[in-house]
Amino acid sequence: MESAILKIENFYAYFGETEILKNINLSIFPNQTTAIMGPSGCGKTTLIRCINRMHEFVQNARVSGKIFLYDQDIYSSNPIVIRRKIGMVFQKPNPFPTMSIYENVISGFTLNGIKLKKSEKDRIVEDSLKKAELWDEVKNNIYRKGTFLSGGQQQRLCIARALAMNPDILLLDEPTSALDPKSTSAIESLIIELKKTVTIIIVTHNTAQAARISDRTAFLYLGEMIEYDITEKMFTVPKDKRTEEYLTGKFG
């Protein structure tokens, strides 16, 4: 068995007095896609926002338990450093409206005040856009505003922006829920391609999507992790009754 890149141990999350996540234990393996699925409000988004400590911006949010990136305890590190190692793509495409496509991709560096040579920037932008399979579509308009792109292209631009920082892990929070079927399938094939270079954790409420693209799947229900297994196993022989009911569409 390979060693895990990310380990979540006895993890609880709260907003005020409400318990959102209950005793989550999860190991994420490198160069795999892990899907986190479950009905709305089950805490999937909260879970991945805890991984890069984005949940801290919500008032009254607190957590207990530990998350390790390799051997580093995320909650005793500087969140700014953690967020540069763990990239995130959101539900709604959110390129920076004041920036061109080029500036958007390189924004992780410029906004952090990291100075790079022009040639180095060009290389990072081209590489990242190629990895996000957007290069061919935008290479002639790279200095146009990112917001002129279609929704699917904007989402791939956001993926390129996250990849430019060369993260260890890429968190995707329902990245296709705001997109049409064609853009969705483009993003899905991109995810399959990307896991060669980066570990992916994707939140989805779409079970078919989890089945198509993930190696492992975690099923969350009401803040508890019901089941976590290799996707094929879980979708063919789920161990828990609730997983089976969710997969067969009895609720959710």
Partner: protein
């Protein structure tokens, strides 16, 4: 049938009434502009902008000291009010619910409705008395207090409209909070903020009451910010109250200059909104 006819008539009448009242509301503006233009235009020539006022009885003379004084006071007010206003606006839009923010927000609303003459008296007691003289500086600060709530409000309202996911995009890249505000949030709201600044300047450029107690007025040219200066509204006030026909003419001319300045600021604000608007 008859019923439908009645309703159509009512409908039409309603529409015409709306247009009529909209028109009535602009009539005073048109009359003011025409009247000031008619009376003021004859006073205006190149000397009007470059010369100092002449003593009573002499022909000619200009308002150069008042124009320079107005610019000085407006610049001082802007230097004070713009940075503070933007910072407070950011604070309010970032802290929507906190008690302190609510207190600041209410105070801003109250500040906006304090009569300008009261602000003038306060500035007189705080600044003029303690510095021992009327000055451009005290005038600028009095006007800054009037400008501040305008800028705070417009900054807050603009930044509130910027979607949260933009901020999250930046934070998720590991960008520190302060850089996110400076490099992502403020640039996204730049058109609204600049518009607020321009409207703030337009609001104070014609303010007279606070200046009576602070900048005071000065028949000579002065560019020392610690000495009294003349300003367009002060000059209009003093000259229009005088018994001399020649001075009345200069007051009309100055009024025209002031109104044109304010109009230009408003037009620039409209253009900025249109051209620099950021699409999310």
């Amino acid at each position: 049938m008859n019923n439908i006819f009645k309703r159509t008539v009512k409908d039409k009448a309603f529409k015409y009434i709306i247009v009529l009242f909209s028109f009535i509301s602009v009539v005073p503006l048109i009359f003011i502009l025409l009247y000031i233009f008619k009376n003021g235009i004859s006073a205006i020539n190149l000397k009007f902008f470059t010369h100092l006022p002449k003593p009573v009885g002499e022909k000619g003379g200009g308002i150069s000291n008042a124009i320079i004084g107005t610019f000085m006071i407006v610049i001082i007010a802007s230097l004070v009010a713009i940075p503070i206003g933007i910072i407070v606006g950011v604070f309010l839009s970032e802290n929507k619910k906190s008690r302190f923010a609510e207190f600041v927000r209410t105070s801003t609303d109250i500040l906006l409705s304090i009569p300008s003459i009261v602000i003038g008296i306060v500035a007189y007691i705080w600044l003029v008395k303690s510095m021992g003289d009327f000055s451009a500086l005290s005038g600028g600060i009095a006007l800054a207090i009037m400008m501040l709530p305008v800028i705070i409000k417009s900054t807050e309202e603009t930044l509130k409209l910027i979607p949260d996911h933009l901020k999250e995009a930046s934070l998720a890249l590991g960008v520190p909070y302060y850089r996110t505000i400076l490099k992502v949030i403020l640039p996204a709201g730049i058109s609204g903020i600049i518009t607020g600044i321009l409207l703030g300047i337009a609001r104070i450029a014609g303010e007279t009451a606070p200046l009576l107690f602070t900048a005071f007025g000065n028949p000579f040219m002065n560019i020392n910010i610690l000495r009294p200066v003349n300003a367009l509204p002060l000059l209009i006030y003093n000259y229009a109250m005088s018994p001399y026909h020649q001075w009345h003419k200069i007051a009309w001319g100055a009024a025209l200059v002031l109104i044109i300045l304010v109009l230009i600021l408003n037009i620039i604000a409209k253009i900025v909104i249109k051209k620099w608007k950021v699409q999310f």
